[in-house]
C-alpha cells in the first residue's frame, strides 16, 4: 500500500495541516528545518539509524547516523557563529557532493543563516554574479574549488570569510578559516536559533531570459510541503534506502536530497562520482537502493546502454522510481518498465515552487509522457497567455499557473521585487512553462514560454551566455539559443558574428567553447557554434534571438516585419 493511498480522495480532502500535525510542527516554538531533519528524528529514538551513506569515486564509503548529522550540524552551526556569522547572513556552499555539503546545509539553518548552495562546476563569472547579488558573508568550500573564490574575492567586499573544509595543514590566506567538521570536538548541545515559519532559509539562483540570475528565496515553512511530497510522491517509508541523484547545488538536491528524506527519517545514499551506467547500476545493487529519484537525461543515457546492461546487475531492491528536471518522454517510461519492471514516475516543479507541484503518484494510472496531476493542496490550471484566464477546453495549450499560497512557494527574488511581482497575474503564479490538460485532468508539457534553455534539467539563461561571449576578444555580437538534443532535451547553440580581423576556424570555435565553460559552467558551454557575417536584428537593433531559435526547432519564424534588411 502506498503512503498516499487514493490520490482522488487525498486531493478532495487535503489540508496542509495534516503535514504539520505529522511533523508536530511548531512544537516548543521550533520551526527550524535543521531541527526537523536531525534532532527531531533522534528524539523519536532513531539516532542510531543511518542518515547518510556516502560513496566517493574511489570507492571510499562514509556512514553517518542521525545522531552524527545532528552533532556535526551543531558543530557547523557553532563554528559559523564563532566566525561572526549572524542569523540572516547568506552562507554559500560551494563544493562537490561530499558529506560536508549535506550536513553543513543543516548547520547553516540551525544558526539562522540562509543557505546559498551553488553548483561546484560554476566558473568565476557565474560565481561572482550570484555572490555579489546575495552579498554573501561566507563561502564554505574545498581546496579543489577555493581558487575560483579567491580570485574573485577582491570584487566581493561583503565576503568576510572563506571556509575550507579540507584544508588539513595547507596554508590559508588572510580572511580564510579551516573547518574540519569531523575533527573538531562534536557539539552535542546547540541552542538552535528559533525562527518563524516565514524566516528565510534557502536561496537558490535560477536563470531567466533577461537580466542576471534571480535568487529564489525560500522560508523554513517550505518543510511542510517538502515533507509530505517526499512521503506521498516519492513514497518514502522508514525501511527505504533512498537515492536522489541531484546535486544540492540545485533545488532538487536540497528539497529532496536533504530536507525531504531527512525530515522523513529515511536513510539516503549519495554517490559522488561522474555518470556511468555500470557504476550507477553497481551502486544501486551494492546499496540495495529501494527508491530512486533521477532525471530524464540520466535515464536516456542509461537507455543508450540498453536493457542488457541492467540485466548484469541484481536491481530487485528497487521498488519505486521518480524523475524530475525536464519532461520525461513516453519512450523512457516504457523502457523503464522493460528494464526495471516498473515505470519512472514524472514529477514537475521548479526552483521557485520549492516542492513538487504536478506529479504521477503510486497507485494512480501513469499515462506515459504526461506530467501527471496537481499535488493535493495545489490549485493548478493552464491559463490563456493573453488574458491569464484558465482555458476551458481540454487539450488547449496555455501557461501552467498555480494559485499562490502553498507552503514552499518562494517568498521573493532576492533584491528583485519587480521581477517577482511580474510572476503573478490575475491571482495566479505563472510558471513560464506551457502545457495542456486532457479530459482526465492529466497535464502534458509543451515547452517553455521564454528563451530560457533547459539543458539536462538545468535552466541556463541566454543573456548570461551572450554577455560572457562578448567578453571574448573575437566576438562582436552573439545570440544563444536552445537547440533540440535527444539526450539533454536542449543544448546551447551560439550564433556569433566576429570582430574585424578574425576569421571563423575550428580552433576559434574550440577556444570560444572553452572560454564559456570556464567562465560560466559546462552547462552553459555552447555545444555548437555557427559563425554569421551579421546577426538578424529588428529595426531598433535588437538581435532576433527567437528567430534563430525557431530555425533550430524547425518552427514558424513568425512576424519578421520589423527585421532589419540583411
Amino acid at each position: 500500500m502506498s503512503n498516499i493511498g487514493s490520490y482522488e480522495d487525498r486531493y478532495k480532502s487535503f489540508d496542509w495541516k495534516l503535514s504539520e500535525q505529522e511533523l508536530e510542527y511548531g512544537k516548543n516554538g521550533q520551526y527550524n528545518i535543521g531541527y526537523y531533519c536531525s534532532d527531531r528524528i533522534c528524539e523519536k529514538g532513531l539516532g542510531s539509524k543511518p542518515a547518510l551513506i556516502w560513496e566517493g569515486f574511489t570507492g571510499e564509503v562514509k556512514k553517518y547516523t542521525y545522531e552524527d548529522i545532528r552533532a556535526y550540524s551543531n558543530t557547523t552551526a557553532k563554528f559559523l557563529q564563532d566566525q561572526g556569522i549572524k542569523p540572516g547572513d547568506r552562507v554559500c556552499l560551494f563544493m562537490d557532493k561530499i558529506p560536508e555539503l549535506y550536513i553543513c546545509f543543516l548547520g547553516i539553518l540551525k544558526m539562522g543563516g540562509i543557505a546559498q548552495p551553488l553548483f561546484s562546476a560554476f566558473g568565476e563569472e557565474s560565481l561572482i554574479t550570484r555572490l555579489d547579488d546575495a552579498k554573501t558573508k561566507a563561502v564554505l568550500t574545498t581546496r579543489k574549488h577555493a581558487g575560483k573564490v579567491r580570485r574573485i574575492r577582491k570584487d566581493l567586499p561583503e565576503l568576510a570569510t572563506i571556509i575550507i573544509v579540507d584544508a588539513d595543514d595547507k596554508p590559508l590566506n588572510a580572511g580564510e578559516a579551516a573547518f574540519a567538521m569531523e575533527k573538531l570536538p562534536r557539539v552535542e548541545k546547540f541552542d538552535i536559533v528559533k525562527v518563524e515559519p516565514e524566516t528565510a532559509s534557502v536561496l537558490h539562483y535560477t536563470s531567466g531570459t533577461t537580466g542576471k540570475p534571480k535568487g529564489a528565496q525560500h522560508v523554513h515553512n517550505s518543510l511542510v510541503a517538502q515533507y509530505i511530497t517526499s512521503k506521498w510522491v516519492l513514497d518514502l517509508k522508514p525501511e527505504d534506502i533512498y537515492w536522489c541523484t541531484a546535486d544540492p547545488g540545485w533545488v532538487t538536491g536540497t528539497s529532496y536530497g536533504i530536507i525531504g528524506p531527512w525530515a522523513n527519517g529515511v536513510t539516503q545514499v549519495v554517490l559522488d562520482a561522474g555518470f556511468s551506467a555500470q557504476n550507477w547500476y553497481a551502486f544501486i545493487e551494492r546499496m540495495k537502493v529501494t527508491m530512486w529519484y533521477s532525471a530524464p537525461t540520466a535515464i536516456r543515457m542509461l537507455m543508450k546502454e540498453g536493457v542488457e546492461a541492467v540485466k548484469k546487475h541484481n536491481l530487485s531492491s528497487l521498488r519505486h522510481l521518480c524523475s524530475v528536471g525536464e519532461p520525461l518522454n513516453a519512450e523512457a517510461v516504457i523502457w523503464s518498465e522493460k528494464a526495471f519492471g516498473k515505470p519512472f514516475y514524472d514529477t514537475f516543479w521548479q526552483t521557485e515552487t520549492g516542492a513538487m507541484m504536478i506529479c504521477n503518484y503510486p497507485g494512480m494510472k501513469v499515462k506515459p509522457g504526461s506530467m501527471g496531476k496537481p499535488f493535493p493542496g495545489i490549485t493548478a490550471t493552464v491559463v490563456n497567455p493573453k488574458t491569464f484566464e484558465p482555458v476551458d477546453k481540454p487539450g488547449t495549450v496555455g501557461l501552467i499557473a498555480f494559485r499562490p499560497g502553498w507552503p514552499s512557494m518562494m517568498r521573493a527574488y532576492w533584491n528583485n521585487k519587480e521581477t517577482y511581482d511580474g510572476k503573478f497575474k490575475n491571482g495566479w503564479y505563472l510558471s513560464g512553462d506551457r502545457s495542456s490538460i486532457d479530459a482526465d485532468g492529466y497535464y502534458w508539457f509543451v515547452g517553455r514560454d521564454d528563451d530560457v534553455i533547459n539543458t539536462a534539467g538545468h535552466l541556463v539563461g541566454p543573456f548570461e551566455i551572450e554577455s560572457a561571449l562578448l567578453e571574448h576578444p573575437a566576438v562582436a555580437e552573439s545570440a544563444a539559443v536552445g537547440k533540440p538534443d535527444p539526450l539533454n532535451m536542449e543544448v546551447v547553440k551560439a550564433f556569433i558574428a566576429l570582430k574585424p580581423g578574425f576569421e571563423p576556424s575550428s580552433d576559434l570555435e574550440m577556444d570560444i567553447m572553452n572560454f564559456i565553460r570556464k567562465k560560466l559552467s559546462p552547462l552553459a558551454m555552447p555545444q555548437e557554434i555557427e559563425f554569421m557575417a551579421s546577426m538578424p536584428k529588428t529595426r531598433s537593433g535588437k538581435i532576433m534571438r527567437r528567430m534563430l531559435r525557431a530555425k533550430e526547432w524547425g518552427e514558424e519564424i513568425g512576424d519578421i516585419s520589423t527585421l532589419e534588411n540583411d
Binding site: 569515486f57 562537490d96 562546476a121 579543489k144 574549488h145 577555493a146 581558487g147 575560483k148 579567491r150 559522488d272 562520482a273 561522474g274 555518470f275 556511468s276 555500470q278 557504476n279 543515457m301 543508450k304 539543458t455 539536462a456 575550428s506 580552433d507 570555435e509 574550440m510 567553447m513 572553452n514 565553460r517 570556464k518 559546462p522 552547462l523 558551454m525 555545444q527
Partner: protein, 85 residues
C-alpha cells in the same frame, strides 16, 4: 609516439579542466569522468579537441563516459577510430 600523445592529452586536460591553482596530478590512468575532473557536458569539448587534433570522427555512441574515463582509455578510443598513435 604513444607516450608523446599521452603527454599531450594530459597537458590539455590539465590546462582546460583543472583549476589554475590546482595541485592535482594527472596520470595516464587517473579517472577523469568518474572523479568529476571532466563532466559529461565538458566531454563534448574534449571530444571536439581530439577530433580536431587527430583529424578523426568519434561516433556519439562510442564517446561514452567509460571511453573518456582515463587518458589510457582515450588513447584506445582514438586509435580505434584511426588516429595514428
Amino acid at each position: 609516439m604513444s607516450d608523446e600523445i599521452k603527454k599531450m592529452i594530459i597537458e590539455y586536460v590539465k590546462k582546460e579542466y583543472l583549476d589554475e591553482d590546482s595541485d592535482q596530478e594527472i596520470k595516464e590512468d587517473t579517472k577523469l569522468i568518474s572523479s568529476g575532473i571532466v563532466d559529461s557536458f565538458s566531454m563534448v569539448s574534449l571530444k571536439t579537441y581530439l577530433e580536431k587534433k587527430f583529424s578523426i570522427k568519434l561516433p556519439d555512441e562510442d564517446a561514452t563516459p567509460e571511453a573518456f574515463d582515463s587518458v589510457n582509455n582515450i588513447i584506445e578510443l582514438i586509435r580505434k577510430f584511426g588516429a595514428k598513435v
